[in-house]
C-alpha cells in the first residue's frame, strides 16, 4: 500500500473543509474524510498481515524514500511496522470520534475542523516517518494547531493554558531538536560517509556511547514533555482542561502518544546503550509520575482535571514499560499507549457531553446523572472502569503486560518500583469511584438536570467507535501483541547489541 495516501487523505479533507461552507457541509466533509482514513488504516493493517504472511521479513514495510535536502542528508523516508500501525489506527479512531463529538460546534466551525484535521495530519506523518528530520517536521505540525484550538475554542483561562502548553511543548521540541542534531552530527562517526537522518541507517551503524550518553537525555526528556514525564508534566492538567472536547481527546489520546512513540522509536531505538545507562532514572521518574499523579488526581474536584492527572499516572506506565527494557514490558508500553489513547478519549468525550449539558464539570455540583442521561453516564462509568484496569477492557491487558514484563527484572529496586506502580491501581480505583460515585451516581443535586437530554446519535456513535477499540483489545489482546511483536523484537535486538 502506498503510505502517502495516509497523508493525502487528511490533506484533501482539510482542503475540502476550506472549500465548503456551513456547519453541516463542513462536518460532513470532516466525517467522511476521517472515515476514509479509518478504513484506510484498517486496510493498511490487513496489507501488513498479508505481507507478513508472505514472509516479508524486512524491518519496515511499504517503505518509500524521496530526496528532500540530499545535501544535508534529509530524505522523505517513510515506512511502517506493527507499532506504527497500531498508533495509526489509534489516531484514526480518535479522529473519527473527535469529529463526531464536535458536531455541534457553532463558533468558527470551518477553522475548527480544519485545525483538527491538520493536527491529525501531523500525527500520521510523525508515525510513518523513518527520517528524523521528517519526523521532527511532522511533530511541529502537530503542535501549532493545539495552541489555536485551545486559545480560540477553549474554556476557563484558555489563553494562559494555550500559552503554557505551547511553550512547554516547544521547550520539549527544542530539547528533541538538540537530541536529533546530536544523533545526526555523530552519525558518520563509526562508519565513514555522509551524515544521515535516516533512522534505519542510524540504527544499523550506531553512534558512539559517549555521544549517546550526552544526547539521550535531551531526546528522551524532550519526547517526555509530550508524554507527561515527571517533572515536565504540568502543561497536562491546564492544557487538557481548557481545551474543547475534541482537542482534549486529541491531546490526551494522540499527542501524548507522540511522546511515548518518540521515546521508544527515537531515543531508545537509536541510542540503546544510553537507554540502558539511564534506565534507572527513567524507572524512577516513571514511578514518581505513576504514584504522584494518582495521588494528585485523588484531590481534584474538576472532572477534566481528574482525567488529566490520571493521564499523567497512566502515561507513567508507558515510560515504566520502556524503562524496564524487557520485551514484554516494551510491548506493554505500546499497548498502554493504544489503550490509554482510546480510553482517555472516551473519558473526555463523556465529560464533554456532560459539560455541554450541565455546564459544570465540578464533581460537587454534579450528581445522579445516571437517572437522566443513562447512556452518557454509562459511558463515563465504563471509561472509568477501563481506567482502573478492569478485565475485558484494554487497560487491564496493557497494565498486566507491563507488570509481568517489569517483574522479569530481578533487581530489587525495579521490583519495588513495580510494586509501587501496582499499588497505583488501588489509588486509581479510589479516585475513579469517588468521581463516578458523586457525579453520575448519588441523588440528583440540581433540578435543572431533570430536563436534560441523553446523548445524540453522533455522540453515541463516537462512544461506540472508541469503546469497540477498547473492548476488542480487552477481549482479544493477542491481536495487538501479535501485531507489535516484530517491532519490539527489533528494538530488543538493538538493546542487546
Amino acid at each position: 500500500m502506498n503510505l502517502l495516501l495516509l497523508l493525502i487523505i487528511p490533506f484533501l479533507t482539510a482542503i475540502g473543509i476550506l472549500a465548503v461552507n456551513g456547519l453541516k457541509q463542513v462536518r460532513t466533509v470532516a466525517f467522511i474524510g476521517s472515515m476514509i482514513q479509518l478504513c484506510l488504516s484498517f486496510y493498511l493493517l490487513n496489507q501488513y498481515h498479508i505481507a507478513k504472511e508472505l514472509g516479508d521479513a524486512s524491518l519496515m514495510l511499504f517503505e518509500q524514500n524521496y530526496a528532500w535536502f540530499p545535501s544535508m542528508g534529509v530524505y522523505f523516508h517513510i515506512g511502517v511496522d506493527g507499532i506504527s500501525i497500531s498508533m495509526i489506527i489509534l489516531t484514526a479512531l480518535v479522529v473519527v470520534a473527535g469529529v463526531l463529538v464536535s458536531y455541534g460546534m457553532e463558533q468558527l466551525h470551518k477553522e475548527f475542523f480544519f485545525l483538527l484535521i491538520l493536527l491529525s495530519l501531523g500525527a500520521y506523518g510523525f508515525f510513518i516517518s523513518l527520517d528524523l528530520f521528517t519526523l521532527f517536521f511532522f511533530l511541529e505540525v502537530a503542535v501549532i494547531p493545539k495552541f489555536l484550538l485551545i486559545g480560540i475554542w477553549g474554556s476557563g483561562p484558555k489563553e494562559r493554558s494555550a500559552m503554557k502548553l505551547a511553550l512547554m511543548l516547544m521547550g520539549g521540541s527544542a530539547m528533541i531538536f538538540i537530541g536529533l542534531s546530536g544523533v545526526y552530527y555523530y552519525s558518520n562517526e563509526t562508519c565513514f560517509g555522509p551524515r544521515t537522518f535516516d533512522m534505519l541507517a542510524l540504527a544499523n551503524n550506531g553512534i558512539s556511547k559517549e555521544a549517546q550518553l550526552f544526547f539521550f537525555p535531551f531526546a528522551f526528556a524532550g519526547f517526555g514533555v509530550f508524554t507527561a514525564l515527571f517533572p515536565f508534566h504540568t502543561w497536562v492538567p491546564d492544557g487538557h482542561s481548557s481545551a474543547p472536547t475534541a482537542a482534549s481527546m486529541f491531546l490526551a489520546g494522540i499527542s501524548m502518544k507522540l511522546g511515548g512513540y518518540g521515546c521508544l522509536r527515537v531515543a531508545t531505538f537509536l541510542m540503546p546503550q544510553a537507554a540502558e545507562y539511564y534506565a534507572p532514572v527513567i524507572v524512577l521518574l516513571a514511578t514518581i509520575a505513576i504514584i504522584y499523579g494518582a495521588f494528585a488526581t485523588m484531590m481534584q474536584t474538576d472532572l477534566k482535571y481528574i482525567n488529566a492527572y490520571s493521564s499523567i499516572s497512566h502515561c507513567g506506565f508507558v515510560l515504566l514499560g520502556i524503562g524496564m527494557l524487557t520485551k514484554v514490558s516494551i510491548t506493554g508500553a505500546v499497548m498502554q499507549m493504544v489503550s490509554h489513547g482510546l480510553m482517555t478519549a472516551l473519558f473526555f468525550a463523556a465529560i464533554g457531553m456532560m459539560y455541554s449539558r450541565t455546564h459544570t464539570r465540578l464533581v460537587a455540583q454534579l450528581g445522579g446523572l445516571l437517572k437522566v442521561m443513562p447512556f452518557i453516564s454509562s459511558i463515563f462509568i465504563i471509561a472509568g472502569l477501563c481506567s482502573l484496569g478492569l478485565p475485558g477492557f484494554s487497560g487491564f491487558v496493557s497494565e498486566m503486560t507491563i507488570f509481568v514484563g517489569s517483574w522479569q527484572n530481578p533487581n530489587m529496586w525495579y521490583r519495588l518500583a513495580t510494586i509501587l506502580s501496582c499499588a497505583s491501581i488501588v489509588v486509581t480505583a479510589v479516585y475513579i469511584l469517588r468521581a463516578a460515585g458523586s457525579s453520575v451516581m448519588g441523588p440528583i443535586k440540581d433540578d435543572h438536570f431533570l430536563k436534560l437530554e441523553d446523548a445524540l446519535w453522533n455522540e453515541k456513535l463516537a462512544a461506540v467507535v472508541l469503546l469497540s477499540g477498547i473492548v476488542i483489545i480487552g477481549l482479544a489482546p493477542f491481536l495487538l501483541t501479535d501485531l507489535l511483536s516484530p517491532g519490539t523484537d527489533i528494538i530488543m535486538k538493538q538493546l542487546l547489541k
Partner: protein, 646 residues
C-alpha cells in the same frame, strides 16, 4: 452434546443474558417486561447443564478408580508473554470446580426466581437481571479457571459485578458508599494477589495451575529451588507468593482485617446479598486456597498456618460482633464471615493426602452446605424485609403467624447453621471440628466456643424476628409475598436438611482419592450440647419481651459498645484513609504539583517576561541613547584591547 459445548454454555448463557438485557433491556419494551423470565430461563438451563456436567464427571471419574483426576476441557492462549509464560483461557474440571458449578448455578437460579417477586416493579428491572447475569458468568469463569491469571481476571469481574449490584440503588448515598468501599477494599487485597501471582509466575515460569502445582510440590525442581532460594525479609519467595495470594482471597472472603466491606455491602438488594455475599463470591477466597492447596500443604506449612490463624480469628471475631448487631442483614453478614472463617481454618489445619486431608474435605463440605442454608437465611430475611420494610429486628417480632413458610424455612436454616443434627450444617461442622481436634487443640476449643456463639446469635435473630411480642401490630400489608418468593425458600429448606447426608469426602478430597469418614457419636456430644445451650440461652433472653438483654448490655458497659461498634475497625480505616492518605499524601501531592513543580515553570515565565521587558527598553528608537551606547561600547572595547595588548 459434547463436554466442551456444555462447559462453554454454563457460563455462556448468563453472559448472553447479560449482553441481551444490558444492551437492549431498557430500550426494548418486550425485553424490559420479560427480563426476569428470560434471565431465569437461561439460568435454569445453565443449572441443568452444570448438574449434568457434575454427574458426568463424578460418575466417569469413578470408573477410572484412580480417584478424581483434573480434566482440562480446553485451553486457549489468550495473552502470551513469550518463553512459555502466558495467560490462558481454559476450563478445568476437578472435584471442587464440579461441585462449585452446581452450587453457583443452583443458588443463582434460586435468587433469579426469588427476585421475580422481590424486585417486581423496579424501574431498572432489566438492568438488575443483566447484572445478575454478569455476576454469574464471572463467578463461573472464576471456578473453571485453569490459569492463575485467568482466575485473577474473573476475580476482578466478580468484584465489579458486586460493585454494580451493591450500588444498584445508586440514588442512595449509603449504597454508593458501600459499593465503593467493597470495591476499594477488595482491590487493595487484590494488589497483594497480583504481586503474589507475579512472584509465583516469575519463579514458576508459568501461570498454569497444574504446572505451578507440579513444579512447586516437587522439591527437586529448578523452579522450586529458585523460589526457595529467593528470600525477602527472611521469608522465602514461595511463602511471600502464597501469602500474598491468600491476601487476595482474604479480601474477597472478608477475613479479618479486610472484612470491613461485607457488613456495608448489605446495602444491595437482599437477593443479591444471598447470592454474592453469602453463597458464592465470598467463598472465592476459600476456593482459591483450595485450588492451590497442594502447594500450601506440601511445600509451605508456614503459609498454611497463616491461613489457619486468620480463619479462626475471623470466625471468633465475627461471631462476637454478630451477637450485638440489630440489623438482621448485618447479623447474617457477620455470621457469613464467621462461617467462612471456619472453612479457612479447616483448610489451615489440614494436610495433604489421605486421612490427613480430612480438613480439606471438611472445609469444602462446609462451603457446600453453607451455601444452601445461608442463602436461605438471606432470602428469608429478604421476604421479611419485603413485608416489614425495615432491616431492624426491633421493628419485627411475632412474625411466625404472618409468614409461616418463611418461619419454618428460617428455623431450618438456623438449626442447620447451629450444627444441630440431622440438618446439613451439623455434618460439615462436625467434620471441621474433628479435623481441628486432631491437629490443633487451641483452634479446636476456640472453634467450639465460636459454634456455641453461632447458635446463640442465630437464635437471638430467630426469636427476635418470629417470637417476642409484636413491636408494630399493623405491619402486615401485603402478605408473605408471591409464590416466586416462597418456592425458593421451600426448595432451599428441604435441601438444608438433606444435603448433609451426601458422602462428601468420598467425592472431594485433597488428593482426589475418595476418603471415607464416619460419624463419631461420642465426639459429637460436646459440640451439639454446646450449640443447644446457645439456643436455650437465646430462648431465655429473647423469646419473650423482657429487660434482661438491656441489663446485660448495661452491665457490660464499655465492652458491649466496643463490640457493638465492631471494635472500631471501620473508624481505624477511616482514620488511615482520610487523615493519613488524603491529608498527608494526596493533598500535599496536589499542592506540590500546583505550587512547586508548576510554580517553577511560572517563575521561569515571569523571569523571562521581566528580563525581556527590561532589555526591551534598550531598543528605544532614541538616537541619542543609541549614540551613547555606541560610544560607550567603543570606549569599553578600546580600553579592553589596550589593556589586553599591553
Amino acid at each position: 452434546m459434547s463436554n466442551i459445548t456444555t462447559i462453554l454454555l454454563i457460563p455462556g448463557l448468563p453472559l448472553l443474558a447479560f449482553l441481551l438485557l444490558g444492551i437492549f433491556g431498557n430500550s426494548n419494551s418486550l425485553l424490559k417486561q420479560g427480563a426476569g423470565i428470560i434471565a431465569t430461563a437461561f439460568m435454569a438451563i445453565s443449572c441443568l447443564l452444570s448438574v449434568q456436567a457434575a454427574i458426568n464427571y463424578f460418575v466417569m471419574a469413578n470408573l477410572a478408580e484412580n480417584g478424581f483426576a483434573a480434566i482440562i476441557l480446553f485451553k486457549y492462549t489468550w495473552l502470551s508473554f513469550g518463553s512459555g509464560i502466558s495467560i490462558d483461557m481454559g476450563a478445568l474440571l476437578d472435584p471442587i470446580s464440579a461441585m462449585m458449578l452446581v452450587v453457583v448455578t443452583f443458588i443463582s437460579l434460586m435468587v433469579h426466581i426469588f427476585s421475580l417477586g422481590y424486585m417486581k416493579g423496579e424501574e431498572r428491572f432489566a438492568t438488575y437481571y443483566a447484572f445478575l447475569g454478569l455476576f454469574t458468568f464471572s463467578m463461573l469463569g472464576l471456578i473453571l479457571s485453569s490459569n492463575i491469571f485467568q482466575i485473577y481476571i474473573f476475580w476482578e469481574l466478580v468484584g465489579v459485578s458486586s460493585f454494580l449490584l451493591i450500588g444498584y440503588y445508586f440514588a442512595k448515598p449509603s449504597a454508593v458508599a458501600a459499593a465503593k468501599k467493597a470495591f476499594i477494599v477488595t482491590r487493595f487485597a487484590d494488589l497483594g494477589f497480583l504481586i503474589g501471582i507475579l512472584t509465583l509466575g516469575f519463579y514458576g515460569e508459568s501461570f498454569d495451575f497444574q504446572t505451578l502445582i507440579q513444579r512447586f510440590t516437587d522439591h527437586q525442581s529448578p523452579q522450586f529451588l529458585a523460589i526457595s532460594a529467593a528470600s525477602f525479609m527472611g521469608i522465602t519467595g514461595l511463602s511471600w507468593g502464597l501469602m500474598l495470594v491468600f491476601m487476595g482471597g482474604a479480601g474477597k472472603s472478608a477475613m479479618f482485617p479486610l472484612h470491613i466491606w461485607l457488613p456495608d455491602a448489605m446495602e444491595g438488594p437482599t437477593p443479591v446479598s444471598a447470592l454474592i455475599h453469602a453463597a458464592t463470591m465470598v467463598v472465592a477466597g476459600v476456593y482459591l486456597v483450595a485450588r492451590l492447596f497442594p502447594i500450601f500443604a506440601i511445600s509451605d506449612q508456614a503459609a498454611l498456618d497463616v491461613v489457619a490463624f486468620i480463619g479462626i480469628l475471623s470466625a471468633l471475631f465475627a461471631a462476637i460482633i454478630a451477637c450485638t448487631q440489630t440489623d438482621i442483614k448485618r447479623v447474617l453478614a457477620f455470621s457469613t464471615m464467621s462461617q467462612i472463617g471456619f472453612m479457612m481454618f479447616a483448610l489451615g489445619v489440614s494436610n495433604y493426602g489421605g486421612e490427613n486431608g480430612a480438613g480439606f474435605s471438611a472445609s469444602l463440605f462446609h462451603l457446600f452446605t453453607h451455601a444452601f442454608f445461608k442463602s436461605l437465611l438471606f432470602l428469608g430475611a429478604g421476604a421479611i424485609i419485603h413485608m416489614v420494610h425495615s432491616n431492624n429486628m426491633e421493628d419485627m417480632g411475632g412474625l411466625r403467624k404472618h409468614m409461616p413458610i418463611t418461619h419454618i424455612s428460617f428455623l431450618i436454616a438456623c438449626l442447620a447453621i447451629s450444627g444441630i443434627p440431622p440438618f446439613a450444617g451439623f455434618f460439615s461442622k462436625e467434620a471441621i471440628l474433628h479435623a481441628a481436634h486432631t491437629s490443633s487443640p487451641i483452634i479446636y476449643y476456640l472453634a467450639l466456643f465460636t459454634s456455641m456463639l453461632t447458635a446463640f446469635y442465630m437464635f437471638r435473630l430467630y426469636f427476635n424476628i418470629f417470637w417476642r411480642s409484636e413491636a408494630k401490630p399493623n405491619h402486615n400489608t401485603h402478605g408473605e409475598g408471591t409464590w416466586s418468593m416462597k418456592l425458593p425458600l421451600i426448595i432451599l429448606g428441604v435441601l438444608s436438611i438433606v444435603v448433609g447426608f451426601i458422602p462428601f469426602s468420598h467425592y472431594v478430597s485433597s488428593d482426589g482419592k475418595s476418603l471415607e469418614t464416619h460419624l463419631d457419636l461420642m465426639f459429637s456430644i460436646l459440640p451439639v450440647s454446646l450449640a443447644a445451650a446457645g439456643i436455650l440461652l437465646a430462648a431465655y433472653l429473647y423469646k419473650n419481651k423482657n429487660e434482661k438483654p438491656e441489663q446485660i448490655a448495661q452491665n457490660l458497659g464499655g465492652i458491649f459498645s466496643l463490640i457493638k461498634q465492631k471494635f472500631y475497625i471501620d473508624e481505624i480505616y477511616l482514620f488511615i484513609t482520610h487523615k493519613i492518605i488524603f491529608n498527608l499524601i494526596g493533598r500535599p501531592a496536589a499542592w506540590i504539583d500546583k505550587h512547586i513543580v508548576d510554580g517553577f515553570y511560572t517563575l521561569t515565565a515571569i523571569t523571562t517576561e521581566e528580563f525581556s521587558s527590561t532589555i526591551k527598553g534598550w531598543q528605544s528608537g532614541n538616537l541619542q541613547s543609541y549614540a551613547l551606547y555606541f560610544l560607550a561600547s567603543i570606549l569599553g572595547l578600546a580600553i579592553l584591547i589596550i589593556y589586553a595588548l599591553i
